[in-house]
Symmetry: C2
């Protein structure tokens, strides 16, 4: 032990080697016990565990990462500024699911915001340095370069909300098509006949699927297609107001509106009120997301709930599987997994 003055052996953290000496076994054996290998006799295992407890041994993560070429950490990347993250319950629910699914694992979760350009550059560095074993991507826009960067770096990744039907990354999504269908079928069952739809941003795949579901439900019920009842929105309140006004102008006789999001529905509600239409008597209103705003609206808004927490859990499952698969020379197939979870219609007074 020459040089490296202050870093001496004395009071520092115990190493594998020291545990091995204490237990009277070899380094390899201790490593096997620590990592839960079955190839250790019960007696030896007990001796090692005792030594670990006595010495208060805790593995050195850096050394392990270096030797094993893995980090035991995954990142949840949010390509939004912090503010939006905190504002939307979506993220906190997602985080809850992710956290709970991860809690029986040794994996560490990192939360990374990449809203600004600067943050994105940092993130790129971070990923290039392979500081995480895998990445969870939420709320990604269609033209985001992030997913491709991840593919290129061969970092396992799971995306919530595929960018298209041909999403190349593993993905978890809720059943936008089915959710929209159920909303429209609900309105039909309530006797509504002229059901309008304010869409979400149509460059978001999920929003397109909702339009598809809306159309299918009407078609299957024997209604003729009526393009006049569809107006593009963008998930915002302002967009909802604009679209609602336009719909009322075109089809003043409409008796129901299925909005692409709760926020959109809030905008629509405002315009309906100003136009003197009562909800739900004159016009029934259904939203999407079942966010807090739906519960607090006046009247409370019927909405399609997505199982966000469960989606978070599913994302972790997929990601851990991908990481495990990749460890031994991966089977580079395009058989990536796409998980779709069912939605649930939450009926309230607005319909």
């Amino acid at each position: 032990m020459v040089g490296h003055g202050a870093r001496g052996r004395s009071g520092g953290r115990p190493t594998l080697e020291e545990v091995a000496a204490r237990a009277g076994v070899g380094r390899g054996t201790v490593s096997r016990v620590i990592n839960g290998s079955p190839r250790v006799s019960d007696a030896t295992r007990a001796a090692v565990e005792a030594a670990v407890a006595e010495l208060g041994y805790v593995p050195n993560t850096a050394a392990r990462a270096l030797a094993a070429n893995r980090t035991d950490a995954i990142a949840l990347v949010v390509p939004e500024p912090e503010t939006r993250f905190f504002a939307e319950p979506y993220f906190s629910d997602m985080l809850k699911g992710v956290g709970s699914e991860l809690s029986d694992t040794e994996m560490q979760l990192l939360l990374i915001f990449a809203g600004s350009d600067r943050e994105r550059r940092r993130l790129a560095q971070y990923l290039a340095a392979h500081r995480v074993d895998g990445v969870l991507l939420v709320s990604v826009h269609a033209d985001d370069p992030l997913p491709d960067m991840l593919s290129q770096l061969e970092i396992p990744a799971v995306i919530s909300g595929p960018r298209s039907a041909a999403e190349s990354l593993a993905s978890v999504d809720s059943d936008n098509y089915g959710g929209a269908r159920s909303a429209v079928e609900h309105l039909l069952s309530r006797g509504r006949r002229r059901i309008a739809h304010i869409t979400g941003r149509l460059d978001v795949y999920g929003a397109q699927r909702r339009v598809d579901g809306y159309r299918a439900a009407l078609r299957d019920a024997g209604h003729a297609e009526d393009e006049q009842l569809i107006e593009a929105g963008d998930f915002t309140e302002e967009g909802g107001r604009r679209a609602m006004a336009e719909l009322l102008r075109r089809r003043p006789d409409l008796d129901a509106v299925f909005a692409g999001s709760d926020v959109t529905a809030a905008g629509a509600r405002q315009v309906l009120r100003e136009a003197g239409r009562s909800i739900p008597d004159d016009v029934a209103l259904v939203g999407y997301d079942d966010s807090a705003i739906a519960r607090h609206m006046e009247p409370p808004l019927t909405s399609v709930r997505q199982p966000i927490e469960e989606m978070g859990r599913a994302m972790i499952d997929l990601l851990l599987a991908e990481i495990a698969d990749r460890r031994p020379a991966a089977s580079r197939g395009l058989d990536r997994h796409q998980v779709v979870l069912a939605t649930e219609l939450v009926e309230r007074a607005s319909s």
Copy 2:
């Protein structure tokens, strides 16, 4: 290069050694350039930088952590369940300050929730493994064992809101004493004479300091101490209601209330209303925190603003200094830093 089959030299990420070969220099020299040491000639530095760029070299964090015995990461530990974290703007503001101050650093920020017992045990493991160079502690209760654990592990830490006047950890706080003073002085200047105080939880040091400030302001204005005007609350709305009712019973002639928090003020307001007192005509009301609730109250609530974002920045400054100090055998003194930031009274219609 025997064994370690698949891990061969071929297409993997470039190493320091390879950069050195490319640049025609030694390993040590590349390391010096990477770490910004001044002891490198300009010509050599340029050559190394070129090689780094050509090869797309990114340092291996694990190797660096192992060799240098540091992680370049710090943790923001929130001893609360996620839900509260997301509910209170306090945390998101804090996070913003922390993030901005950290962004010119190589340091990585980890967000760790330790609300449940299980999470706390994980955290203990995590800290014992020294997976971070330092810890930021927010919203710690007086009897929390976490701070002491950190001291024992000799992990640099900064706490927001000291646990007592004798806080042993470095800490950042807002000027609770001064904030309370300014609130009371404001009420005095508005001609109020019988100013009551609903305290916060008195096992929180900051709440005690607010009481001290309240007392001092009255004393300095020549008012006699009147214990009947002080009632203990607990930062909650319900506590505010209870305390307000009690105060009204004891001193129906009071003409102002300084509440320990905005939420407490909201509770007090309710009781005042029910008692037929108008705000601010009969009773002026001042809160603390300047949270969203203050802006949205009817009437808008005058409140003491704490510079939370700035506090986050200050915490990082302190922590980075502690980490830097500790690298070379630390000067184990009790000269820890305590930073106190000024508050600001935000005047609104309630006073």
